[in-house]
Amino acid sequence: MIWPIDLAILTLVVVAAISALMVKDLLGASVLFGSYSFMMCLLWSIMGAVDVAFTEASVGAGVSTVLFVAAVFRTTRRTRD
């Protein structure tokens, strides 16, 4: 494990999580959530959990994001918080 990469990804995870919740546009939030999931997946593959990382890459970063975008497309992008 290379600690600078680990540390950088850990920070990015937190940043992505906070910004997914802060951004005032639901489409942006879903895309940021996808990036959060992908960062998480990288983190897990660093920790050696290859199967979990693989699943998260396909489910969290892939299908979940598509579902979010689809739902936002069917409802509204606007939000106040």
């Binding site: 906070i18 299908v63 979940s64 979010f68 939000t79």
Partner: protein, 132 residues
């Protein structure tokens, strides 16, 4: 002071998971937009998955796939210290699946709510209900 720093450094994964979990929990309770709450819910779930994956890490061990699985030396002795603990990974595969299932149901419900009230903001919906 050095104790504190060494403790912070030694378990930093646990601190990150707690931070993420609190971010998610706060979003579920305090956010007003229904889809934002769902995002918070997912962050909450992945934080717990991060916790479990952190349990499984073992210093100096490799991924839990046996080398020399088949072939000439298939039956050499395997040492547990060489491989990461696989059990939490298994549990978390299940938890990820449960997470995406919950996400699907939550989004379906959010669409139903939007069809009824034409908004996703909780306070506006409650105001509409009160007017009736």
């Amino acid at each position: 002071m050095t104790d504190l720093i060494s403790m912070v450094v030694a378990k930093y994964n646990y601190w990150i998971y707690i931070t993420l979990m609190m971010i998610g929990l706060y979003a579920i309770i305090a956010k007003n937009n229904l889809v934002k709450k769902i995002v918070g819910m997912n962050i909450f779930q992945t934080a717990i998955i991060l916790f479990y994956v952190s349990i499984s890490v073992k210093k100096g061990a490799t991924i839990p796939i046996l080398e020399h699985g088949h072939g000439p030396d298939a039956h050499h002795v395997v040492h547990a210290v060489d491989y990461i603990n696989p059990l939490p990974h298994v549990l978390m595969l299940t938890a990820i699946v449960v997470g995406v299932a919950t996400l699907g149901v939550a989004l379906a419900l959010a669409i139903r709510v939007y069809n009824n009230y034409n908004t996703l903001e909780e306070d506006k919906i409650l105001a509409q209900i009160r007017e009736k």
